[in-house]
Amino acid sequence: MEFIAFVIAIAIANQALRGYKLSKEKTLLYLNLSFVLIGAGLLVDGLSSLIVFFAGARRGFLYPFAIGYTINFLAQVIAYGLLVYAYIHQARSVGGSPALVAAVPLLFFERNAFTELILIFLLVYIATQTGINFSISKSTNSMLVFGAFLSLSMAHVFFLIFTLAPIFYPIAHIAQLCGFLLLLAMLLRVNRST
């Protein structure tokens, strides 16, 4: 699932880059960087899971999983942080530096409530912004983007609560995939419309 999401994220990043080259609009550059980071994080997470699944799980070698999750988490925090900054930047049209990650932690960690809460906070903000955009524009494309970020927010809520019941883990992955598929649908609509 991570690999499908990776391909979609890179496709979105590519479209944003083409838009930036044409318009020189910085928000599209932020969107591009954001989805490049999301794609890279998903790829690393997917690869580390594969390594653990095929080689390490039998010997209790779970370290790559923690490394993969850590890289994916940091990539997502910066990526969604960039998106939040892009929305704030556009809304207020002010300069200033984005809230970057001050220091990269040297410890590798596994999925936990704290990291998921950070991602949920950022994703809920983005989902709210895209929801407001949909309520104003009422367009199908903005509805798809809103649905995508809502779905990604739900995915991280399920990741947060999967310790309570393991069934939420596959549901979280399905919700994450649904989010990226909605973005793909938007991308296909945009490129088909002209």
Partner: protein, 102 residues
């Protein structure tokens, strides 16, 4: 840069970027069945005469519009201009899906 009439009327309105003015001019030409007189473009794109002349020259230099009239000046989009407009609409649609304005 001189403010547009629209911007003067609405203090909260943002200045149009050069790209937006290009697109507005080219949209007027497209709307007029790809044959627009300067007066039409002037009103449609909401520009002063001086600025219209300046932008039309720039667009001609870029090769996205051409002057086709013999007696009266008439402007039309070139193939490059049509392709640019298609790309711009695609990008605009993509950006607006995320709530970003170009």
């Amino acid at each position: 840069m001189m403010p547009e009439k629209q911007a003067e009327a609405k203090p909260t309105a943002k200045y149009r970027s050069q790209l937006r003015i290009y697109v507005d001019i080219m949209s007027v030409i497209q709307r007029e069945s790809n044959e627009a007189k300067p007066t039409r473009i002037l009103y449609g794109a909401n520009l002063s005469h001086d600025r219209l002349v300046k932008y039309l020259d720039e667009l001609k230099t870029l090769g996205v519009i051409q002057e086709t009239g013999t007696v009266d000046k008439v402007y039309s989009l070139t193939q490059k201009g049509i392709e640019f407009m298609n790309n711009f609409r695609r990008v605009e649609s993509f950006a607006s899906a995320f709530g970003f304005r170009i």
